[in-house]
């Protein structure tokens, strides 16, 4: 393979930092067999090779992955390469991963966006937010999870828009992102978004041990109490049964509401 020639070409064509770095890095161990497999016609072998490069985790292996992604990989191999790359995230990865976040294959896009959750780079966060607007449901789900995982606050508005469309992944992501203020914002969505999805979002907030103080949870419990859908009772019951509610005033509040709702039947 004329790897270095291609790397130089990529540097001109794409401005890829990875391609430029490929010229000066020296591998810590012999990865030539894996690299050769990545560029071979055997897709299965290429997949195993990128996984191996990820597992090796040396700078040279990492750059080999970047180089391979820059050169273009079939979707099945690209997804494995993206996952392998994210095992050892480094700033130069973002450019390569974002390229695959716009891939025609939805699964590849989903994988790329999921990987971007590990990068605090604004461009990575922007790509995650863009993923929430993707027409493919699986991509939006991946983007919602990435937004939650990467604590992408910029995604809040888009997630609320998806909440209004009843997307559970958005509800769960918002629950993970929520602080007291966002929890109140979500509570105010009653009547604007599907009740079951809202109950799910607020219920997921209650299940978070790091959400507080407890008075804030009381407010969330009371917000759930306003939801007529049966999902409200499920959310409160799940909270009551959760260890995080033990001994909390919010639990007592929830129990009272559940008793009233169930007793009223």
């Amino acid at each position: 393979m004329k790897r270095m020639a291609i790397g130089a070409l990529l540097a001109v064509l794409t401005g890829s930092a990875a391609a430029q770095k490929a010229k000066k890095k020296v591998p810590d161990r012999d990865i030539s067999a894996d690299v050769a497999a990545v560029y071979g016609a055997d897709v299965e072998a290429a997949g195993k090779a990128v996984e191996q490069l990820g597992a090796i985790g040396t700078p040279a292996a990492h750059e080999a992955l970047l180089d391979a992604l820059a050169m273009g990989l079939t979707p099945s191999v690209a997804m494995l390469a993206l996952q392998a790359l994210a095992l050892h995230p480094a700033p130069p990865d973002v450019l390569a991963i974002r390229r695959y976040a716009g891939h025609h294959d939805p699964a590849t896009r989903s994988t790329a966006i999921s990987s971007l959750a590990l990068y605090p780079d604004p461009k990575a966060r922007a790509a995650i937010v863009a993923g929430l607007h993707d027409p493919a449901g699986m991509v939006r789900t991946a983007a919602a999870r990435a937004a939650a995982k990467g604590r992408v606050r910029d995604a809040t508005e888009s997630l609320i828009a998806l909440l209004a469309r009843g997307e559970e992944s958005a509800a769960k992501a918002l629950a993970q992102l929520a602080d007291t203020e966002l929890a109140r914002t979500l509570a105010d969505q009653l009547g604007k978004v599907p009740e079951a999805t809202l109950a799910l979002a607020l219920g997921q907030i209650l299940l978070r041990a790091d959400f507080g103080p407890d008075q804030s949870k009381v407010e969330v419990v009371r917000a759930i109490a306003k939801i007529q859908d049966a999902a409200a009772v499920t959310a409160l019951t799940d909270y009551i049964d959760s260890p995080v509610s033990q001994g909390k005033a919010s639990r007592a509040e929830a129990e009272g509401i559940v008793d009233a709702r169930l007793g009223g039947k």
Binding site: L9, T14, R99, H103, L132, L162
Partner: protein
């Protein structure tokens, strides 16, 4: 207008020959002197024509007589000068309204009824014994043509009391007549135009066209024209010179899309005895001498002005409803809509010279104007041809699909980014017919207007967005239009912006392969090399992809773009990809063929 083939002509003549053999001597006969220059001169000199264009009515007031729907119908007399209705009267009208000096005439039931122009009251009534063909009037007399199965008659009545003055029989069909200054123009057997003394019924002379029938008459206060759907000839002293082209002959270029337009009523069409849809598609010559000064066409809701060479000059689109009647007064083109709105247009520019409401509540069925020379004194509204053409293009009425093609074609010939934006609006219109959009795309490509690049770029700003519910609008068409700007002098800043916008679609997951082909083509057309890194990256990303990488159209587009616009680096890239075992085989083959290796 009906077609009049040679077989029809022979049949008509055969019937007339039979009639000639059997019946009494008729005024209108097969054998008669014709195209006699001396007699024509004498006949024309008998006309009492005003020194300047003016209405026929004795008050000299420009008027319109409007027929509205109902049971019974209603005649509304309207003064164009004052803008007021003069009177209204219910009447069972079954014909056009014919205007005389101080009266109007209509067919009501089986009668001819004359009404005074002062108040609309019935003045006299004459029963028709035969089928009504048409009528005309001058200041004193009414001329009525009737027919039976084998004979026809032209009969004159006194406009004041309805007294029968004379009647001429014909050995064959007579068309609807016209009158002017005391003579009657009488179409006979579709090939002759008899000129009859209105006072006596004597045929003064007659004309025969050498190469076309005579089925259309158009008469103003000073001019007369005769002809057919093929064109009109000015009636003058030279009209007897057959085939020499002595008299001005006007034949204008009617766009194919404006089918069924005519220079006037078909005198032989029984349907056109009344106001019909045929009155909504009229050609108006710009001057008495023909089309040299340009011409206009009224086509339902629209009035289009043309240069003498057929180039569209201006357009007017009437809001919402059709213009059911129209006339050229010599100063303005005046029309009345089905909702009772009157509009007067400047023939040379399409500017609105007058706009009034007749105050009618029932739909207008038709109208007759007596307004020769009328020129509204009001200040005109400048015509907005672009807006009118856009209005036509976006009209919802499927009957006008072909006119929409004409409109967008005319629109595309106008320069400027605004026009490009309007054409793009047609593409964005969900209800626009596909063939119209195809036409617009072709026009955008051919337009090659460098000033349009920013508009096209702005249109590229719309992307697929699940939350916003948006989709790119006409991406392929816009890209093709940008491709059409190859080699055009473009602003470098605008090119950079366009390339950036195109690249967002190149990199977008949702851009379909058939759209990508055009996006790549557009980037290649205007990029000047700046597009190559993006195209190279795109090529690498998908060269081994099972779907896009195997798409033959995409392969050809991307390889061509890199090869024809690229340099040594791009050719090296192509070589590397061709040698890459992961590359789709068909793509590798194409690259090798392109490189000649």
């Amino acid at each position: 207008m009906r077609a009049w083939g040679a077989s029809n002509m022979r049949a008509a003549i055969a019937i007339a020959l039979v009639a000639a053999a059997c019946g009494p001597k008729a005024t209108f006969r097969l054998s008669s002197d014709e195209n006699n220059a001396y007699e024509l001169g004498q006949a024309l000199s008998k006309r009492k024509l005003p020194a300047s264009p003016q209405p026929l009515n004795t008050a000299g007031e420009p008027r319109a007589f409007v027929l509205t729907a109902g049971s019974p119908k209603t005649i509304v007399a309207y003064s164009l000068a004052s803008g007021n209705a003069l009177w209204k009267t219910d009447a069972d009208v079954q014909s056009r309204i014919v205007v005389g000096g101080d009266f109007i005439v209509t067919k009501e039931g089986e009668d001819i009824v004359a009404r005074g122009q002062d108040n609309g009251a019935a003045r006299w009534r004459v029963h028709l014994d035969h089928e009504f063909v048409g009528a005309a009037a001058d200041q004193e007399r009414v001329y009525v043509v009737t027919k039976s199965s084998d004979e026809a008659w032209l009969t004159a009545y006194d406009g004041g009391d309805g007294g029968k003055l004379w009647s001429d029989a014909a050995q064959g069909s007579l068309g609807a007549p016209a009158a002017q200054g005391g003579v009657v123009y009488q179409p006979f057997l579709a090939q002759w135009l008899a000129i009859v003394d209105g006072a006596t019924g004597q045929q003064l002379t007659r004309l025969r066209n050498e190469d076309q029938q005579i089925s259309v008459l158009r008469v103003t206060s000073q001019q007369a024209f005769y002809g057919s759907k093929k064109g009109l000839t000015v009636l003058d002293a030279n009209s007897a010179t057959v085939g020499a082209g002595a008299s001005p002959f006007a034949k204008v270029k009617v766009p194919d899309q404006l089918e069924r337009t005519a220079y006037g009523r078909d005198a032989y069409d029984p349907v056109q005895v009344s106001y019909t849809a045929a009155d909504r598609s009229r050609i108006f010559l710009g001057s008495a001498s023909g089309a040299a000064a340009g011409y206009a066409i009224h086509y339902f809701r629209f009035v289009l002005g043309f240069e003498a060479d057929g180039t569209l000059k201006w357009a007017y689109s009437h809001p919402r409803v059709e213009l059911v009647a129209s006339e050229h007064t010599g100063q303005v083109i005046v029309g009345i809509s089905s909702s009772g709105d009157l509009v007067a247009l400047e023939p040379s520019t399409g500017a609105v010279r007058a706009r009034k409401s007749l105050g009618t509540t029932a739909p207008v069925l038709g109208a007759t104007f007596d307004a020769d020379g009328w020129s509204p004194g009001e200040q005109s509204e400048a015509g907005d041809t672009v807006a009118a053409l856009v209005s036509i293009a976006l009209d919802r009425d499927a009957r006008f699909d072909r006119v929409k093609e004409l409109a967008v074609t005319a629109l595309a010939k106008l320069p400027g980014p605004d026009v490009t934006g309007q054409l793009l609006a047609v593409l964005s219109d969900d209800r626009a017919p596909q063939h119209l959009k195809d036409t617009v795309v072709d026009l955008l490509v051919m337009r090659r207007d460098p000033g349009s690049l920013p508009v096209l770029t702005a249109q590229l700003g719309v992307h697929t967005d699940y939350i916003a519910g948006t989709e790119p609008e006409a991406l392929a068409a816009i890209a093709r239009a940008i491709s059409g700007l190859a080699d055009a002098p473009l602003d470098p800043g605008q090119v950079t912006a366009a390339l950036a916008a195109l690249q967002t679609h190149l990199d977008a997951a949702t851009t379909a392969s058939d759209e990508l082909v055009h996006v790549i083509g557009a980037m290649s057309a205007i990029g000047g090399g700046a597009e190559l890194p993006a195209l190279g990256s795109h090529f690498l990303l998908y060269h081994s992809d099972d779907t896009l990488g195997g798409d033959a159209s995409w392969q050809k587009a991307i390889v061509t773009a890199l090869h024809t616009r690229g340099g040594p680096q791009e050719r090296e890239l192509l070589r590397q990809v061709a040698a890459d075992p992961r590359t789709r085989p068909s793509l590798a083959t194409l690259v090798q063929e392109t490189l000649g290796e």
